[in-house]
Amino acid sequence: MSSQCTAGTCNSCHDDDHNYLKYPKGFWSWVTTVDHKRIGLLYLFTILIFFFVAGVFALLVRTELMHAGRDIMDAETYNMFFTLHGAIMIFLFIVPGIPATMGNFLLPLMIGAKDVAFPRLNLMSYYIYVLGAIMALVALIRPIGPEGLQKFLAGLGLIGPVDTGWTFYAPYSLQSGSSVIWMTGAAFVLGFSSILTGLNFVVTVHKLRAPGMSWDRLPVFVWATYATAIIQTLATPVVGITLLLLIMERAMGVGIFNPQLGGDPVLFEHFFWFYSHPVVYIMVLPAFGVVGEIIPVFSRKPIFGYRAVCYASLAIAFIGFLVWAHHMFVAGISDTSAIYFSAATFFVAVPTAVKVFNWVSTMYKGSIRFESPMLYAMGFVFLFMVAGTTGIYLATLAVDVFYHDTYFVVAHFHYTIQGGAVIGLMAALHFWFPKMSDKMYNETLARFAWVLDFVGFNLTFLPQFVLGMEGMPRRYYDYLPQFEPLHQISTVGSYVNAIGYTAALMNLLFAALFSKRKAPSNPYNSLSLEWQTQSPPLHENFKETPVVTDWTYGYGEPVEGGSH
């Protein structure tokens, strides 16, 4: 007896002309689509463009840091480039990252629904994202031309590329002679898009689960996306009002954050981190979900400690709201609150470690296949473990005073976000590619690209831990000569990393466009619902609403005529 009884979703009933890529036809049908799968793809292409743009900025920053002193740009330009790298990567790439792309594509499929709860709202949130992206691009422009035009643009707040760092700390963000209003306005608009996506997902999971898809049968990716959606919905409004106040202060001189006007810059930091700490869980929780889906399939074992994995997602989301001031240990907050925030931060390690132990235990004694999705997933577990353990250093009060604002923080952050969220997205793209496109990519090239990614990434950021321990401050244009060798290793590593990502994504793109190798609808023998329908899925996902009779991780359990 199969663990999933999904009526009307058998592999033999292909209906090629009715799949979501072909039906309905035409450019207009794509830009006005309310199909969650198409919206997921729209998001995917858009965010990958910004991944590329912000990646180029990162390479320029790393190239400048190759040698002490000036290499390719002056200090002001450098400030702009690292700001744009951070702001674009965060607000345009990694926050929408997995939820808006894979979440949109997979969530309804995984719970056996035809679409998300509010399909038109879903499309609207995509166009709000596009509007925010355009505003962010406008903030990159340096006005040139006749004086009159420049004055006019300055009246609109368009002065030049932003140089505040992605955190927009007051009071500098209030004084900087750059288009801060446009960049923070963009972040506000993007936040609105993120709220609408999160709200849509929460309602979808609550209301549109297929018959039999109880909460204790939900795939872990759905749990993770659900926890993410809660954070998106509840944390984003706070950064929204913060950025709005910053804009009011810049535009009208209202004294909220500027000490010269009676404001309090530390309050800005509190408000900012109340969102921007939970936001790292928006980035990384969906990646936890991705890994939780991939590891059981390629180990042929049920996920270990299913409930613990699911509740850990919620616990991380919850504790994530209570730890924000650990970014502010040297900002002059009181000792009492510093001690509280330090202690609370240690608690995040508990559910996070539960997840890592569960992934490792799932692999234990499994029949592991080292295909590219699994390689990315295992790479994720390793890199995320480094990220988590170095986070403990930074949560420790006395140690953080030394490490604060050094390359140690930069390295820790990139292990979490690139090693976690980006590698998680790569894992997801490789894993669900056959479902999204019905093609197979070149596995050899995918593995080769993974090696470049993994080696390049560690080459870039391991030296930065050492640089930070030796006292190299973050965001500096120039440095002492003794830091040069490690900076050079890091720069070379970033090139390798960039080649790896390019190779991996090109491999997928070429396979989607030109490959003749048709993928079967369930190439990995997964039990999860999205694999039970055809590839690419029908416009309405399933021919008939599936009825779920068991959880999705029954691998290795005895079934009629062999085992899974």
Binding site: I256, G262, D264, E540
Partner: protein, 219 residues
């Protein structure tokens, strides 16, 4: 207009939703609006937190600054919004009974109350502006007021301004519902837009009920 659209307009009962049944659609819409209201509360929550912090920093200045506000006008506005919430609730009741004419009447009352609120607010703001109590004017930037005063009025404009924006958005939403009622779309089986529109309006009202005492009375 095509024949199809005409029949859709005259059709009684819930609109066709391709991916869920009408009952689920109703509950999903209501749940979605409640979540959205939670985000609104958090949006204003930032402002309330900022107000609390600065009131604690500058207690006596906030006390003096709040005397510049006209509490009588604020009280009238409170009554106007409370009454508008009442008519919004009546509109929901009318929709549940399928009485589209009564829905239209009550929504018009609600929207008119929103207008009255904004007109009164406009007179309050412009009076402040003429007294130089506005960021950017010469008196405000001069030495006459200390920084704490300026913090109070900065927050006052941000809080009431954002609230006024929500009043306008709420009126737009209710007008959209009104248009649907003009086409007799509501019945005992289908009144979701009236209900979620009224929910939003109640929140707009509720936020003012917190703003009024904080800004006008407590100071």
């Amino acid at each position: 207009m095509s024949t199809y659209a005409q029949t859709a307009d005259q059709e009684q009962g819930p609109p066709h939703v391709h991916h869920m049944d009408p009952v689920t659609a109703y509950h999903a819409a209501k749940f979605g609006m409640w979540l959205f209201l939670a985000t609104e509360v958090l949006l204003f929550g930032g402002l309330f937190a900022a107000f609390a912090v600065y009131r604690w920093y500058y207690l006596s200045e906030f006390h003096h600054a709040s005397h510049h506000l006209n509490w009588q006008l604020g009280a009238v506005n409170t009554l106007v919004l409370l009454f508008s919430s009442f008519t919004a609730a009546l509109a929901v009741d009318a929709a549940q009974h399928g009485d589209n004419a009564r829905v239209r009447k009550n929504l018009l009352f609600t929207i008119c109350c929103g207008c009255i609120f904004l007109v009164i607010k406009y007179f309050e703001w412009s009076a402040k502006y003429h007294h130089g109590l506005f960021p950017g004017t010469a008196e405000f930037n001069g030495a006459e007021f200390n920084q704490a005063y300026k913090s109070f009025f900065g927050l006052y404009y941000c809080m009431t301004g954002l609230h006024a924006f929500h009043v306008i958005a709420g009126m737009g939403l209710l007008f959209w519902v009104f248009r649907k009622a003009q086409r007799n779309r509501f019945s005992a089986d289908y009144y979701t837009p009236v209900e979620v529109g009224a929910l939003y309006w109640h929140l707009v009202d509720l936020i003012w009920i917190y703003l009024f005492p904080l800004l006008y009375l407590v100071g």
